[in-house]
């Protein structure tokens, strides 16, 4: 009897979760496969004559393959930001953890303040403009690196504390300089944190809307989130294409989710419980 009740509750729980969390996704999917008229009804019915490929092709071809350019830009943005982020933060975390000095609390304060202070938008634009990087992909990459720095450097610093100093000492005795010690020995040991940061940041940066909106305006420079945002007002009569776009840009995070679910969860909890 008790077993039956437990199974009953469980089924109810799953049904509820599927309804609340699954229905919106189902809604997005079915409407990506309808024609414009069907999608304007905004209902949950499975399309009578599914046209997923046609819609996806149509949305890709819109405005001279704008979406393709957006995907190229977003991919470049994500890739380069992560390369810089990983390299710079690992280097900084390495020295910050190994050297404990009088100035250390100051550095820590500056890093922690980066976790809570909202970035000052227009002054950042002014600075970027001053060095000729406003409206450039490199400028936006540097913004992503600067904003991702506090979280990533803390993860690296915490992990460095678990790498025994004896490893450094042995390497130094063998005649390793700082650079060789870091790149040959330490960096490979930091691999678990690097993996976490790569996965977490790629989702965050790929999904970022606010920073491209401010720092990379202009039609040539669009990212996938910006195109989706712009299509919202352009496709008021073609919701099917809007949803096809949503479907397309949800695929990359979905793949990451399928492969790295555990690592994402572990990274998020590790980062947040320590901060």
């Amino acid at each position: 009897m008790r077993r039956v009740r437990v199974i009953g509750y469980e089924t109810l729980g799953i049904a509820f979760a599927l309804l609340v969390f699954g229905a919106p996704f189902y809604f997005m999917i079915v409407n990506a496969g309808k024609d414009a008229k069907g999608a304007s009804l905004l209902n949950m019915e499975w399309p009578s004559s599914p046209q997923f490929w046609e819609n996806i092709r149509a949305v890709i071809e819109v405005r001279d393959y704008l979406l393709v350019r957006a995907f190229v830009n977003s991919t470049a943005l994500t890739l380069f930001s992560i390369v810089f982020l990983v390299l710079f933060c690992a280097m900084a975390g390495f020295v910050l953890q190994r050297r404990r000095e009088r100035a250390t609390p100051v550095y820590e304060f500056l890093i922690l303040s980066g976790l809570i202070i909202p970035p000052a938008i227009v002054p950042t634009i002014w600075v970027l403009d001053g060095v000729g990087l406003f409206k450039t992909l490199l400028g936006l990459i540097l913004v992503e690196v600067a904003l991702g720095f506090p979280f990533s450097v803390l993860l690296y610093k915490n992990f460095m504390a678990t790498v025994p100093r004896e490893i450094d000492e042995a390497a130094i005795l063998d005649g390793c300089g700082g650079l060789r010690l870091f790149f040959r020995i330490i960096m490979p040991l930091l691999q678990p944190v690097t993996a976490t940061i790569v996965v977490l940041s790629s989702v965050t940066i790929f999904n970022d809307f606010t920073n491209p909106l401010y720092f990379l305006p202009g039609a040539r420079n669009v990212t996938v989130q910006l195109t989706l945002y712009n299509f919202q007002s352009q496709f008021v009569t073609q919701y099917n294409l809007l949803f096809a776009n949503i479907l397309l840009i949800t695929i990359p995070p979905f793949i990451l989710f399928l492969i790295f679910n555990k690592r994402i969860v572990a990274g998020m909890t590790a980062g947040s419980l320590k901060a």
């Binding site: 905004l42 209902n43 390299l87 500056l110 690196v145 999904n207 995070p253 679910n261 947040s272 901060a275």
Partner: protein, 289 residues
């Protein structure tokens, strides 16, 4: 000798790349914002106008509403994430066989683009055709105009924020609950406490570090929130759902750079004045325990 070796190995040169980027792109603009918030500014020239921008923020109804809305939004999303996060966290650490599946379902929205979520929910909240109101109509209720009603719109968006972010809170709670030593449950069993007892006297107090993280992260996140409100309402109807972050964007678009920067400074001060003491208060409680 050793110290020279030490300094050469752990050279400060390692800090330079990250340091330059962080200093130039984050710290410098933050410091500059305090100056530029006191000016009328077109990115080339500035005129010093003292506290005029801040006065404007408090006087203009369309700007002042941002304070109230930002606070409501942050408090509502934070509160719901704590309560639902704890509840779901307990549920998903119990003996449910499907808990791994449920965790994944709950967590996935965290990774989806906020813009996509915002667009989908705007359509689901459509007053006559939207899914939510159709579902309500099917059981004989007439749903409100979720995003068009000035009293309701902000809360509707806050609800979507919770929907998207709850997975993160749940994950933190699960980590917190799993780390509670099992001795406590055994002791409770010997003393003969029931399920409620277990919840109130063990799980709630001992998962406090998780509560702390969820409160701080979602409160600060709520104060800074922009994407979702911008996708779903653009601050409308009228100015009724404008948050400080959306006002910053509107003033920026209008070319009022000094005013926009003043908004940034205000947001900074609000975060500093509310979140930092809150964090200290929660920390103190933890030490006392």
């Amino acid at each position: 000798m050793k110290s020279i070796m030490f300094k050469r190995t752990y050279s400060y040169w390692f800090l330079v790349p990250a340091g330059i980027v962080y200093l130039l792109i984050f710290l410098l603009p933050t410091i500059l914002s305090f100056f530029f918030s006191l000016t009328r500014w077109d990115l080339v020239d500035w005129t010093f106008i003292g506290l005029e921008n801040f006065r404007m923020f408090f006087r203009e109804q369309s700007l002042a509403i941002g304070f109230q809305n930002t606070l409501i939004y942050a408090v509502v999303t934070c509160f719901l994430k704590v309560v639902l996060g704890l509840f779901l966290g307990v549920l998903l650490t119990s003996k449910l066989r499907s808990k791994h599946l449920l965790r994944s379902i709950l967590f996935f929205p965290t990774l989806v683009s906020t813009i996509a979520v915002g667009i989908a929910f705007s359509m689901m909240m459509h007053p006559s055709q939207g899914l939510i109101n159709s579902a309500l109509a099917a059981i004989g209720l007439s749903g409100p105009d979720w995003l068009g009603d000035t009293k309701l719109a902000l809360l509707s968006v806050a609800f979507v924020d919770v929907w998207k972010g709850i997975g993160f809170a749940v994950v933190i709670y699960i980590a917190g609950i799993v780390s509670i030593p099992t001795d406590y449950y055994e002791a409770l069993q010997i003393d003969g406490g029931g399920g409620w007892h277990k919840f109130w006297s063990i799980i709630v107090p001992l998962s406090r570090p998780a509560t702390h993280s969820v409160i701080i992260l979602s409160f600060i996140g709520g104060l800074r929130s922009f994407d979702l409100i911008w996708t779903m309402t653009k601050g409308g109807p009228g100015f009724t759902t404008d948050l400080i972050a959306s006002i910053i964007y509107k003033q920026y678009q209008g070319g009022f750079y000094g005013l926009s920067t003043a908004g940034n400074v205000i947001l900074f001060l609000i975060v500093a004045v509310l979140a930092v003491p809150l964090n200290m208060y929660l920390n103190r409680k933890e030490v006392e325990r």
